[in-house]
């Protein structure tokens, strides 16, 4: 029987792959995709917890929807930033963006 553990493991896999994508990728958009993946794994967790721990109260799913909303907003702004970045530096490799260097 599929239990909460299965979903959690799946979400963990998703999260770690997303993390790998976010940290190890050179291209800004690839990093961004990694982040999206991590967000999705979180959503999966939320919905799984809601389904397996308190099916009667759908707070988890509501939360998941809010995450999706935020993710959507984030993607739009994120891509806009990458676009502006590209216009300035003519490439989107994350290593060149190090203005934060002290």
């Amino acid at each position: 029987m599929i239990g909460l553990a299965h979903y959690l493991v799946l979400a963990a896999i998703l999260f770690c792959v997303g993390l790998l994508g976010a940290i190890a990728k050179k291209n800004a958009i690839a990093v961004f995709m990694g982040v999206e993946l991590m967000l999705n794994s979180v959503n999966l967790n939320l919905v799984a917890f809601n389904r397996f721990l308190h099916p009667e109260f759908l707070g988890g799913q509501a939360f998941a929807i809010f995450v999706i909303v935020v993710a959507a907003a984030e993607v739009s702004v994120g891509l806009a930033i990458i676009l502006a970045l590209y216009r300035r530096k003519a490439n989107t490799s994350v290593d060149d963006i190090d203005l934060l260097k002290w």
Partner: protein
């Protein structure tokens, strides 16, 4: 029994999609794999009875976000797209950290005593979610709206580059082109034109 099969199929698809997204060379393929993964996740939601969330997932992630990504890739396309999804210096270290993190999450989850609740009644969840949104989380709901609006405006402003500014602010050096830009649309065009020209400098 059917559910178990569905779960494993979808789960496998999700995992394969995720790995494919990360390890393909071509960025566009990665985007498409991402879309596929989101779709499979949507099906998992539906499997768990969260039909509304699954629908929203398909609508937003698969429908909108993946497409936006493809837009993003196309707008910032450099020379060879086949090889645009390479790893940087932190590759090996990142994999080690990812594996360690995965191991630690799994150790903790397996250790925890989880009591699985019985399957839900099966009726649609939209009704209850709507009630929750407009009763407990009404505030969050409104803010979500505001958030989306501000993201919208933000994306436009950042995405389209500099608004047309009066020449006084900008120093003469090389500013000729920006200064001459026309209205909002022109600005975007100029932004684009300037970028490609900038490329071959």
């Amino acid at each position: 029994m059917l559910g178990v099969i569905f779960f494993y199929v979808f789960a496998a698809a999700v995992v394969v999609g995720a790995f494919a997204m990360v390890f393909t060379k071509n960025l566009v393929h990665a985007a498409l794999f991402m879309a596929g993964t989101f779709l499979m996740i949507a099906f998992l939601y539906i499997l768990m009875g969260a039909d509304y969330v699954g629908a929203v997932q398909i609508l937003v992630y698969v429908g909108a976000i993946s497409i936006l990504f493809v837009f993003g890739i196309m707008l910032t396309k450099r020379d060879r797209i086949e090889d645009s999804n390479r790893f940087n210096r932190y590759g090996p270290a990142a994999t080690v950290v990812a594996i360690l993190l995965f191991a630690s999450i799994v150790i903790t989850t397996l250790g925890a005593a989880i009591r699985n609740a019985p399957a839900p009644t099966g009726d649609s969840t939209i009704q209850t979610i709507a009630n929750i949104f407009l009763s407990d989380y009404v505030l969050a709901f409104e803010f979500a709206g505001i958030l989306l609006l501000s993201a919208l405006v933000g994306a436009i402003v950042i995405g389209q580059g500099q608004l047309k500014r009066t020449t006084k602010l900008r120093p003469a050096a090389g500013g000729g082109v920006q200064g001459g830009g026309g209205a909002l649309g022109g600005g975007a065009g100029v932004g684009l034109g300037q970028s490609t020209k900038g490329g071959d400098k």
